[in-house]
């Protein structure tokens, strides 16, 4: 893979990269608002995005390096098991449809910017709000780490990364440069930068997919050939296969279901949702977002094509970039690499902004400096967005990069534990705040310990995200097991606390708030002063 630098591909890659960087800086002037120093402005793009921008933005953070590096890599290495990402994204849309409009409404009524804001308002509990905020920030880091791994894979295949025997600084230099550019333009433009770049990114990706999905199978002799040679490889290797064996089906289903439940708990998905113009925009979006799932499925098949094309890499993350380099003319390989690289940058930017918002609103303002001015808030957010990326870098440098999908699954284990408080809270006030906090703690501790104990030949701890489900005996996604435990603890304790008449906390929302739409009394289209108000 390190057979020298691919000059043409690198040139094209750099061209797109620079174009996008310039766009990032100019984005600050796009749809400029009155008050650019408010957190709402920097962090939510003024909450004025319509269906299409929202679609690009949501797509921008749902389909990432996860989609075109980690998932095909999992297929390349293990076959059918990696395809769980398709049912995962299918299940996401009915979920969005059901609960996100309620979150939009109540957030716009009360000026909530984060899930923690909502939890605090709903349950009158700063402790619970803090728990949700910390979980969000923690869970985002490995997800950003996955993006960095994606960029690194591309740079590696282009020959920029250096081999195993160069020192770590040279080896990671391209990664650090990419990281620096990302940090710089996110810092200056906020959410507007990724939204604008998302257009470029998606256009590039669609072109690359269209070409890859038509051109590569023809070159390889059709899908018959592709699946036949993949089947042969799995049989010879004695690992993986074209369909999941009975013993792996629990794992497949729980990974899909757990990931689907987790996705909309992430701060960045919420950010994209809240920046849409109206409640209807969200529901309308659920009918067009599945286009991305189709793309995900097609990209996943590239894992098989890499096998059929004879791509041999020890790090499966390099399989797809290597396939592109082998199959495409140099200039188009450059376009494909740019698509992957930018496709990792955009979500990384959105994720770090979202995590930063969470810190500022729910930790800095609630616990450190309650009388912060909007300008101070924005400043803190920008700084934290840098720190979150540094955290992600630590994950990249310490965890096994050859199974990058684990980064995302590890984040999922944690973020899923905020589901009962958030989604439960959107539909009912029955749960007791202390019970939710206890359930969260149990889920977090169980999930972290279970994940810590998973070992692989290459890594002693955090080697995977599936383990035996206690009581059932099948192997399943740890995140979902922890989630079930969390819910059980929450329900039982709620009964006990209610019987003991523990104080419920003040609910500042009312039932009508959950169905209000843009134009209804009290719902503001833009909330430029929200940073100062709450």
């Amino acid at each position: 893979m390190n057979d020298g630098v691919n000059g043409v591909a690198l040139g094209v890659f750099i061209f797109f990269f620079l174009a996008v960087t310039v766009m990032g800086f100019l984005a600050a002037r796009w749809r400029k608002a009155e008050n650019e120093h408010s957190l709402d402005e920097w962090g939510l793009g003024g909450r004025s995005f319509g269906t299409w921008v929202t679609w690009f933005l949501l797509g921008g953070d749902l389909y990432t390096a996860y989609t075109f590096v980690a998932v095909p890599a999992a297929i390349y290495a293990a076959g059918a098991a990696g395809f769980f990402a398709v049912p995962y994204t299918i299940l996401v849309y009915p979920l969005i449809f059901t609960f996100l409009p309620r979150l939009w409404s109540v957030s716009h009524k009360h000026g909530y910017v984060t899930t923690s804001d909502f939890v605090r308002g709903r349950f009158g509990s700063k402790g619970l709000s803090l728990a949700v905020a910390l979980t969000g920030i923690l869970a985002t880091m490995p997800y950003i780490a996955l993006q960095l791994v994606g960029i690194q894979a591309v740079l590696d295949v282009m020959g920029v990364g250096g081999g195993e025997n160069t020192n770590w600084f040279i080896k990671d230099l391209p990664l650090l440069i990419a990281f620096g550019v990302l940090a710089a333009y996110t810092y200056s433009s906020g959410l507007r930068a990724p939204a604008l770049i998302a257009f470029v990114k998606d256009t590039l990706i669609y072109i690359v997919i269209a070409v890859a999905i038509i051109y590569i199978p023809i070159k390889l002799g059709g899908f018959d050939e592709i699946f036949a040679s993949a089947d042969k490889k799995y049989t010879e290797a004695g690992a993986g296969g074209l369909i999941p064996p009975a013993a792996a089906q629990w794992g497949y289903a729980t990974l899909a279901f757990g990931s689907a439940l987790a996705l909309f708990m992430y701060p960045h998905s919420i950010t994209a949702t809240l920046s849409s113009r109206s409640r209807e925009v969200i529901r309308r979006n659920t009918t067009i977002l599945p286009l991305y799932s189709l793309m995900l499925g097609l990209l996943a098949l590239l894992g098989f094509m890499a096998i059929a094309a004879g791509v041999l890499v020890t790090n499966p993350q390099l399989a797809i970039p290597q396939l592109f380099e082998d199959m495409f003319p140099d200039w188009f390989a450059g376009v494909a690499f740019a698509a992957i690289g930018i496709g990792a940058l955009v979500p990384a930017a959105i994720m770090s902004i979202a995590a930063a918002n969470l810190f500022t609103r729910n930790i800095y303002k609630d616990f450190i400096k309650p009388d912060a001015t909007p300008a101070q808030e924005t400043k803190v957010s920008k700084l934290v967005s840098l720190l979150v990326k540094v955290g992600a870098l630590i994950f990249v440098l310490t965890m096994d990069k050859t199974v990058a999908i684990n980064f995302q699954l590890l984040g999922g284990i944690w973020i899923l534990q905020t589901f009962p408080a958030l989604v439960g809270g959107l539909f009912t006030r029955w749960f007791h705040r202390w019970a939710l906090l206890a359930g969260w703690a149990v889920g977090m501790v169980y999930g972290t310990i279970a994940a810590y104990n998973v070992s692989t030949p290459t890594q002693k701890h955090f080697g995977g995200s599936s383990a035996e489900i206690p009581g059932i005996g099948e192997i399943g996604y740890i995140g979902l097991t922890a989630f079930v435990l969390n819910v059980v603890v929450t329900v039982v304790l709620t009964f006990i606390l209610k019987a003991a008449k523990a104080p419920e906390g003040v609910d500042e929302t009312s039932p009508e708030d959950y169905t209000a739409d843009a134009g209804d009394p009290g719902v503001k289209q833009e909330l430029p002063k929200v940073g100062a108000g709450h």
Binding site: F83, I90, F97, L242, A256, R283, T286, P290, G297
Partner: protein, 87 residues
């Protein structure tokens, strides 16, 4: 319509049941892995396992669209009912 407001204002209506079914169907289909973990019949060389799940992307999109349209109608009907016969 206005002479049977109780029926129409209930929380569970036939339309809502259909909406719920549209939203639940993908879960049943996708989580029941055993129902599709096989290679035959193939489609253009692609094993059943793969094209079946891809097909469900389209099916679930259609179902979500139906749910969306029904929900809009449901909401409009409720709004006009409220406006028409204030109590």
């Amino acid at each position: 319509m206005s002479d049977a407001p109780e029926v129409n204002r209930g929380v569970v209506t036939p339309v809502r049941v259909v909406i719920a079914l549209c939203l639940i169907a993908p879960f049943v289909a996708m989580l029941w892995v055993g129902s599709y973990a096989k290679t035959d019949p193939e489609l253009a060389g692609i094993p059943f396992f793969y094209w079946y799940q891809m097909l469900w992307v389209l099916i679930s999109t259609l179902l979500t669209m139906v749910a969306y349209k029904l929900w809009q109608r449901d909401q409009r009907a409720r709004a006009s009912q409220k406006g028409g016969a204030p109590e």
